[in-house]
């Protein structure tokens, strides 16, 4: 596969390490009510769609950016690639 890195352009997926669903960005608040349940859902449950999937890839043999890749799990077609840091910020994550 080829991932179009937002900074570096097309790169072979072999340079990357895969983590999983991009929802892993949305780490719950440790002080929230039912934090254990929230963490359980966050860590263990997956949509696992057959179709478009937003997922985290790490450019390990590269610039060490974490990327959010939108990829179709039926065809492997990739429709968008973003820097995970930007996605995290856009989802309200900060410090």
């Amino acid at each position: 596969m080829i991932i179009h890195h937002p900074l570096l352009g097309p790169r072979d997926a072999q340079e990357f390490t895969y983590l999983g669903d991009a929802s892993l960005i949305d780490r719950p608040d440790w002080q929230a009510e039912h934090a254990v349940d929230r963490f359980h859902d966050y860590l263990y449950l997956r949509d696992n769609p057959a179709g478009e999937h937003r997922e985290l890839w790490f450019h390990e043999v590269g610039d060490r950016s974490w990327l959010v890749v939108t990829r179709n799990t039926l065809t492997h077609e990739i429709t968008s690639v973003e820097l995970a840091r930007d996605v995290a910020r856009s989802r309200g994550r900060s410090k």
Partner: protein, 984 residues
Amino acid sequence: MTQSNRLEGGQIDRSRSFDFTFDGKRFKGHPGDTLASALMANGVRLMGRSFKYHRPRGVLSAGSEEPNALVELRSGARQEPNTRATTAELFDGLEAKSQNRWPSLRFDAMAINDRFSNFLTAGFYYKTFMWPAAFWEKLYEPMIRKAAGLGSLSLQDDPDAYDKGFLHCDLLIVGGGPSGLAAALTAGRAGARVILADEDFAFGGRLNAETFTLGDASGPDWVAATVEELRSLPNVRCMSRTTVIGGFDHGIHGAVERVSDHLATPAPGKPRQILWRIYARRTLLCAGAIERPIAFANNDRPGIMLGGAMRAYANRWAATPAQKVAVFTNNDDGHRTAIDLIAKGVRVAAVIDVRADAPRLADCELLAGAQVIDTDGRLGLNFIKLRLADGSERTIECGALGVSGGWNPNVHLTCHQRGRPVWNEAIAAFVPGTLPQGQSVAGAATGDFSTYAVLRSGTDQAVVALSDIGLEAKAIDLPQAEDAPVNLTPFWHVAEGKGRAWLDQQNDVTVKDVKLAHQENFRSVEHLKRYTTLGMATDQGKTSNMGGLAIMAELAGKTIPGVGTTIFRPPYTPVAMGTLGGRSRGQHFHPVRETPSHKWAKEQGAVFIETGNWLRAQWFPRPGETTWRESVDREVRAVRGSVGVCDVTTLGKIDVQGTDAAEFLNRIYANAFAKLPVGKTRYGLMLREDGIAMDDGTTARLAEDHFVMTTTTANAVTVYRHMEFARQCLWPDMDVQLISTTEAWAQYAVAGPNSRKLLQRIVDPEFDISNEGFPFMACGEITVCGGLRARLFRISFSGELAFEIAVPTRYGDALIRRIMAAGEEFAVVPYGTEALGVMRIEKGHAAGNELNGTTTALNLGMGRMVSKKKDAIGSTLSEREGLNQEDALALVGFRPKVAEEKVTAGGHLMTTTGPVDAAHDQGYVTSAAYSPILESYIGIGFLKRGAERMGETLRLVSPLTGTDTEVEVVSAHFVDPEGDRLRA
């Protein structure tokens, strides 16, 4: 041996001869020959035996689709089973053996199977061999296994080298026949980066096999001129002997270049084959078409072959399978075989055309509306038996029969990403359907079979493909060329005839087998394939699948596309495993990581051990020491008695900087880090988000905004990645910067009561490393040996007074020599990973065996370290009940009741009174060693409620190793439990 069946002309170099042997018999051939063409020229028709019935078989095709003519090529360690004689290029001294026969190809004892073929129908083995139960493995299966397989491996290490590489292009053209050449010329002239790949050693495809002219030139001459121009273009890479084996995601293709297979042995340092990974912006498939046979009774005798192959042998290789041949066809193209063979002076007995209205095209007898209903000849064809249009029978004597059932576009590569081909009624064949992104198809692979049409689509499709990527190209001027339409009446098998009619010649699947599969409800195309093994042989059914589908369609009352197709999967043709492995062989399977003291340790005669990719000194034997234990015991005693030095560079080191570095570490580690003072080091326990221990190590604070973290050797990469995840994805606005410095610094542990005294001779005097000036867990940047920058950490894994000292790696070798020289007075010893391991077990420190991915902080006795007052990765989920059970495992130590008895790592703990089984398991020993200090074996491990069971006697059972030892539960801190020594 004379080349009795060699004809005039052809593209072979008659000025030179090659000697070769087949089954020990000597023959001669010429450059340009394949093994098959050379054997054919020498009058050899019998080349192999089939898989199940051991039927005598000859060549069916003239290409990589060959199911029959498979040989063991070369000998010794280079023996290469199942090699297609049809693609094996002849070289001087070539050796080939037939396979799957005993004692000889002509007299094969296993041919008895053929007599019992009625019992050995599709799937018969599922219905029998069940009684008595024990006989399957003892009798039946060994029998079946012995008969299995075709050729054999030598079982010697493959002596050849393989290589890999990466290529980039605008347009990858798969296939160098007329359409591929036209496309390459189009794209090449336009300046595009082109790769033209063809599996053959000669470009030209069918132009080499036919007698067509292009404009004024003969086919081969046009090819030569075109290739010459292509080779002159710097932007075109012409790769013959290169098979594109598969199309993968996003335009990546795999291709195998056979660099040295046409040589007796590869030149020194040169690879046998290269696996290329081709990154193509666009791909044009010009893979041509493959002819298909017609099934009829006993259609598998040597001499019966595809019509197109027969004329390829005649035209390209000047060889004929027999002096008198016949042709059996359902289409006009079949007649070309007769025309061409007649032109070559071969007698063509008749053209048998199933079509009642067949045109008379060749200058020989035409039997329109006739069918071949049987054949005769034990090891090669002698007679064919016909049913004529008027219903009468006739027998014709001939040594070969060219069979033409039409052509199947070679859609293989269009389907590798699970595209399905679509049915084209006009040619009664599947043509490409939905294509993978970036791929287009031209030439015969689309179902256009005339020479002019394939040239036209080659150049036109190249223009379109390039315009897709913004490159402008012009169609080339096409020469005048043959432009005949396809005239064909679909005809798959002759219904008449008592004998078996073969579909898959290699796996011996007949029309009857398909009928039986249908009868037993194995009707889905995948069930058909799996039940009968149709198309599962080394040719993957390139010439047989269509026939099977057609017959199933007939039986099921469906159309052929209604039955479906099996899935084409890579590789297009089988690929040597060595090629896929490439350079990663033997010692170079994975890169080696050497420590800074490697060279020195080697000089000392150290024994090395793999630790991941690192090579570490395991121990340093001394003269007179006969066992590793002697060396390791000595090293441990020396450290605990005076001082030793150990290379600990392999521990991961991550430089953490930034104004939020402290808070960041506070969230990465389960224990508190925010308030670690500058100049101090702290042990940290890192959890995964699921609350399980991930890694541990010490982290030093060099400045307010600067830490150096150490990880275990094994987890250096994962921890670094995990921290980048936390930094970029969880807390993107934290001011933290990370970088690995693992191998930038050579780091040595200097341990033992005399370690300070030793280091005082290394560390420059302005740095106070006394216990007061540099207490336990201190750290700092210093200089050594007269001004070399260094880092010093007062940390201890051994439990002794100890330091770790680091200098830039290039000085690591000098430093170890200095330390050894400076320590002579204290009899300093180098120690390896074994002694390190013994001492950490004596101290009860957890390492990889304990941090096995299932242990919690609580298990490790560090439950209280997990701060509940802060957010750290893993802290929330570590609150779950399963991680806090009352009978949770706890890390404790074990000593045998009898000191000489061994403690077995991996042994399980049982009470002395209860049963010994899984249900009563109390825990297990993770690490064990002989402690020369305690003069006893010791172990550490996990025990249910371990902390409460000090002093209890347990059984340590290891039925696997045959040991059963009584052990006492003790503290894991065997040596210096109060830690006085390390604070000294």
